[in-house]
Point group: C2
Chain length 237, copies 2
DNA sequence: TGGCTACTACGTACGCTGTACTTAGTGAAG
DNA sequence: CTTCACTAAGTACAGCGTACGTAGTAGCCA
């Protein structure tokens, strides 16, 4: 009988193999990869202990030998895709490097649309998160500021990118469980909005929507936002 | 037998009362208020259809007469607390007004710690969200920019505040279900981090953490971030 | 006024979830 | 060779969202 003590625990501090007993059938990476596969293909809500176990080909409860709580499975997932960050030799121009960081993070989140929802400061110290943070700090070496300010810059850029991508993807992810498409959902919401604006109660909103008749260039909006964050820490003269 | 068609629907377009049949026992506001009470007191995960119904004092399935899906209950909640936004006569100085908007949004989220998790662009057109957006645009009347730019400013400020408060509250909210406290959780994570940094593999991270020995002033960090966003749209010379 | 019918209320039931607990079997250490 | 920490996995339970069916109510029209 294994009494699981009610003691907080960092999954990364837990040894993968203790030496005694049969060799574990899977590694932590196997499990994380299986969960990521499911989340990518079927959405985050499809990531249940039963599904992940089935994907691995083992019994549901066997997973708990590797991962004490489902929460920890999420942490494994976030760290696993964090490993996809490609790190480079800092160019010497921190602005260029920060732009690259932002774009890469955005691409990562578009590859794994469930990632923004799972991002948590509690996962900030996982192995790959540390690797990534250290790399960002290395890119910021040319910036003459305190480390505290550099961390604020990283946090703000990350927060902005996360918020942006979340807004980009949220409806698509939410709508997965629903019996209609994202386009249908949006059409109904836009139609409703049109009705509200037509009442004249929101003159500036109405003006804003007639101003931008054409489709907005999301790419340009993103690039502008990145540039603004960077400028906020070293304004052009 | 009521066949519920699989047609997307905006809850706000659905009439509260159709005239026929018995008068509904509750209003949409009653339901939203009950859900908000539960979320405030016991966390978002305690907001189940059964709990909300019990809080109202009706049968579980009766809720579905008011709210076609649980998703829509969330939308009601977000709109309800959005009504707590206190709107004022624009001061004429948009920077001052934007600071006030940011602080107020932060306070709102601290009153309702589940709000950041529920924020979705899909809820952006609810009655109180429209009211709030129009007010922000009114505050930005003195700013000589296109509406598109103003909306980008609002989105960036909102996104930043949301990300900031989420980081502030996330662990506290996550830890609710767990059998230990936020402080215990943090202590374990910090201890683990210390061990990792001591390996020397992350020299800049280590330097950053020795630099800021004292406790960081979260208030000041928040104010700085707000100022940076504002400056990003109208840099001081 | 009486009936029709749209509506409200709500109990039952199903398939799903996370996970506590239990038992059986394995293999390295003493 | 025994011991025992470990892995693997089944069973069971409480809780979830919600499809469906039924009973009763009240406004409308004949």
């Amino acid at each position: 009988m294994a009494v699981r003590g009610a003691v907080p625990e960092v999954i990364w501090a837990r040894p993968q193999r203790t030496g005694r007993g049969p060799r574990p059938a899977y590694t932590r990476d196997d499990i994380a990869a299986a969960a990521v596969r499911i989340a990518d293909a079927q959405g985050l809500d499809a990531v249940s202990m039963r599904h992940v176990a089935a994907e691995l080909g083992c019994g549901t409860m066997s997973l708990y030998n590797y991962v004490p709580r489902k929460e920890d499975l999420y942490e494994l997932m976030v760290d696993a895709v964090g490993g996809e960050h490609e790190l480079w030799e800092p160019s010497g121009d921190w602005r260029t490097d920060m732009r690259r960081v932002a774009r890469q993070t955005r691409e990562l989140m578009r590859r794994h649309p469930w990632l923004p929802r799972l991002m948590s400061p509690a996962y900030g110290f996982s192995p790959n998160a540390l690797r990534y943070l250290e790399h960002c700090l290395a890119c910021l070496d040319p910036l003459q500021e305190r480390y505290g300010t550099k961390l604020e810059l990283i946090a703000m850029l990350n927060g902005m990118v996360t918020a942006y991508v979340r807004n980009e993807l949220d409806t698509a992810e939410r709508v997965r469980a629903l019996p209609w498409s994202e386009d249908e959902e949006n059409a109904v919401r836009i139609a409703y909005l049109g009705g509200r604006l037509a009442t004249g109660a929101y003159p500036r909103m109405a003006a804003a929507f007639t101003e931008d008749a054409g489709p907005i260039d999301l790419e340009a909006v993103f690039e502008r936002a990145v540039e603004r964050v960077i400028d906020a820490f070293a304004p052009r003269r």
